[in-house]
Symmetry: C2
Subunit: 539 residues, 2 copies
């Protein structure tokens, strides 16, 4: 495995020149060189109308040769080609039922729970609706439609907004009262103080990640240590900002373990190539890998960042999604503070989102980052960049405050809230286990358990015959497998090459999100497909 | 005037080296070199907690010297230093009423109508609330609380969302059914076809502007023609993406007229310096300048872009805000199509936002861009970048569809909707006229009329004595004037230097948004202050 890692680091340094050769149509990833995954475009065909002309008549002002090459280079597989194909199949099924061997498309490509039927948390939606239309708050009918604590919470939130104006731009870090609530939620979670002035509310976690990459990246000589496999927002953001992704490999055989020796090795290797490593990205619980870090491991990571002067970028958006009794979520801030490290010792950014957790409110685009251990003048620069976009959406801001301060014992909604939350989380745990067992029962598949997050990332030991067939089809072997799976079953998963993997190994990411009554069908469709695939290609 | 423009273009080319000298604390703007506007930081002091440490104890990983210099260079005046001071004064007034010669802060720095008491459009908020909490839709109490057409519209919208899941990520361009509605709204407005596949829904217009700048900018050799004065989102975005702002000056004496000869001159001048000009930004109605382009002028602009192979980036977010009977809004797409130019002839992006118009829903962060005349493969790249952030917030998406398809004759809400809309727009027109007259009545101030948008941009002929006093205070003269105005009256306006102006001229931007019953007090406070200022500094 180490050998492969070293090779990949070399590829990384070569990526610039590779990219130049590859401007016309960037089907190759700079990080994990692949065969083209097919002749069709990698991104949604629905993005372009079929009737639109190929280019300007005389002198087209914009062509692939004249756009920003970083845009061309950037990749984001979870909304890539396989989703375009799935959308086409869905359209075909709608227009011509029975045209495929399945009757629906199951989108297991992305952590989007409500798209698969998960219901929102009632209390959260009650408060949002009341804040959207406050003039009903004191109408008598409202008492019959909304719970008393939702009405009270809406009043509280409105009182925190100057002029009760939910339609006004807020402070660029977010409404102060909501940041107070979130800071209190962090304190309650961690047992250490949190400062509302450290909170930056954002439209989901993605813009927060971009802001930090933008801040830290001066040129391709600046590197960011990222896990491999990783959530491709990180590789995309680093590419768009012109930096270098410095990979560190999670150890699949140790349950996607994160070893400090591997961090050190990759850091040293990057340094020897003239790369200044600025930050370490840790995704905990892991995406796409589903592991939950042990406390001791987290302490080592904090120590490593302190020693090496790295910013710790902690993706903690799955903090509520823990499915095994032997693991717990600990924020990196709690770990650092419990080691006695304060603002003077470590620069730490924690990302949180309303899209994940038990609530899965992806469409609301709420989230925040907690920025600690930066000097006042650097944080002022972060504030300035936030201010250019004015503020994040107020609905998302309100929701972020609700997520960090849900109903409490004694509130009218408390019991129903707990029931909804626990129902979702325990069902997710069962689904994770069922799918994990199903994968592990298949020939040539091994799958670590999903301790947390929303994904399984099984490894497929593809027969040589399948790899040859993929090559003939000009596709990466795992993309070939995923495409065949989609065409046979309607199940959409994302090939491991979209997240990065040890070269020569093949995986895919599958969410655990189909509703529980559909899981048996998913398992049987997966099983039947895989058996057929192996029968076709077994060496 | 032309002489100054040429000088400024030279400054622009020098900006890189200037910037290098200026890394420690970037108080100088690259575009319109200024004195420091004071010793205090330019950005909100509330962004940094007073107790936070200056930097890491041993080796701080991030300092102003090691962040992305583009971030350091970027400026965004409308949320800059003056707002920080205003926030401090507001806090002081709260803690110690009577501590200042005014009893409230009036934020005229930013187009944020609801923060100043404008009420949201009832129908829009009804629909949003129902979409946030659809489970009340078929309850009997709901009939008493919401209008029938809002209930019907909510059902229609929910039916356009797969699984009625307003909490799910949507297609990265936005929910298809909402894009259909918006395209139909554009068609109704323009009388020319619009394609829903050309629409990209975004969190307000700002992210859309960033996406286009990111796409078009490869290096500092790529230039974007921008009006001066301009809305500083453009300069900030160009700086963040590493491009060069190529200024063209609006003619203040011709009512902020846009002359093709000036465009040509600046384009040629930029070319001669080795800059490849990619696009032309036009803000119509103008921000900060409030002019509305004449149809014939728009035709010339389209012709110019076609001839020179420039992308036309049309900021049309104030399309509903027209206050004079002799001007009308025409979209650039309508103009281009009426000239017989189609997708093959011109690349055109139109930006729209729910933050402006009569509705002013800034906090909802809804908006879209209509992207026409790009080849399919380039648009695929735009889609890819959109997909990295998954989608814009669904509440903003829904609101964008409502703005482009408000209640129609016969709908239950139609009359009250018209009353609310017309009440706001006619009041804005009266406020614009009253403030314009007030400014023009003052010694040493001239002010073009606000034909549209939400701002006046009066020119202040500052006495030499005031300019000297500003220099002594290490401030730009217009910033000095604005600071004095704030301290004396509590009125927050933004100095012209934040938008760009012909060197040696001084302006400020003042919104027309204080509620109508406050306008007399604004006028008398402004008048009293200005008279006192002139008495103090008259040469």
């Amino acid at each position: 495995m180490r050998r492969f890692a070293a090779e990949t680091a070399k590829d990384l340094v070569r990526s610039r020149s590779l990219q130049r050769q590859n401007r016309r149509r960037c089907l190759l990833s700079p990080l994990w060189p692949l065969l083209s995954s097919g002749s069709q475009s990698r991104f949604s065909s629905s993005a372009s109308s079929p009737d639109s002309p190929p280019a300007m008549g005389s002198s087209p002002p914009v062509t692939l040769d004249t756009i920003n090459p970083k845009v061309l280079k950037c990749e984001y597989a979870v909304r890539g080609e396989i989703v375009s194909i799935a959308q086409r199949l869905q359209q075909e099924l709608k227009e011509n039922p029975g045209s495929h061997p399945f009757d629906e498309i199951l989108y297991c490509n992305i952590g989007n729970p409500q798209s698969l039927g998960q219901q929102p948390i009632t209390f959260f939606r009650e408060v949002l609706a009341l804040c959207d239309h406050p003039s009903i708050l004191d109408k008598s009918e409202t008492q019959g439609l909304f719970s008393a604590d939702a009405i009270e919470r809406a009043w509280q939130i409105l009182d925190q907004i100057p002029g009760r104006a939910t339609g006004a731009y807020s402070h660029s870090q977010g409404i102060k009262g909501l940041r107070d609530t979130i800071a209190a939620g962090i304190e309650a979670r961690d047992g250490f103080p949190a400062d509302p002035n450290d909170i930056f509310l954002t439209d989901g976690a993605s813009p927060a990640v971009h802001m930090m990459m933008q801040l830290l990246t001066r040129s391709e000589s600046d590197g960011i240590l990222c896990p491999i496999p990783q959530y491709p927002l990180y590789s995309a953001s680093i590419t768009l900002h012109g930096g270098t992704l410095v990979p560190y490999y999670l150890d699949e055989e140790a349950g996607w373990g994160l070893e400090i020796s591997e961090l050190q090795k990759q850091l040293d290797s990057a340094k020897s190539k003239g790369i200044t490593v600025r930050a370490l990205v840790v995704i905990n619980p892991g995406n796409p890998t589903g592991q939950v870090l042990a406390e001791e491991n987290q302490r080592q990571i904090v120590e490593f960042c302190k020693k090496e002067g790295l910013v710790l970028l902690a993706d903690e958006v799955y903090q509520e999604n823990i499915y095994v009794p032997d693991k717990q979520f600990h924020s990196f801030k709690k770990i650092a503070r419990s080691m006695g490290y304060g603002d003077n010792d470590i620069s730490l950014v924690s990302f949180q989102s309303v899209s994940k957790g038990y609530h899965g409110e992806c469409g609301k685009r709420g989230g925040y980052m907690e920025v600690t251990g930066f000097s006042a003048d650097v944080r002022e620069q972060i504030y300035k960049v936030a201010s250019v976009n004015l503020c994040s959406n107020i609905t998302g801001q309100i929701l972020a405050s609700l997520v960090m301060n849900p109903p409490k014992v004694g509130d009218e909604s408390y019991e129903s809230y707990c029931e909804e939350r626990d129902g979702i989380l325990s069902s997710l745990a069962r689904r994770a286990k069922t799918l994990e067992n199903a994968f592990n029962s298949l020939e040539g598949i091994t799958c670590n358990r999903a301790e947390g997050a929303m994904y399984l990332f099984p490894r497929v030991y593809l027969p040589q015959k399948a790899i040859k067939a993929a090559e003939a089809a000009k596709m990466a072997p795992d993309a070939f497998y995923c495409r065949r799976l989609l065409n046979a079953t309607g199940i959409v998963v994302v090939a491991g090459s979209g997240f990065g993997q040890v070269p020569g190994t093949w995986h895919f990411r599958c969410t655990i999100l189909p509703q529980e009554d559909k899981i048996p069908a998913v398992v049987s469709r997966l099983t039947e497909f895989h058996k057929g695939f192996m029968d076709e290609f077994r060496d």
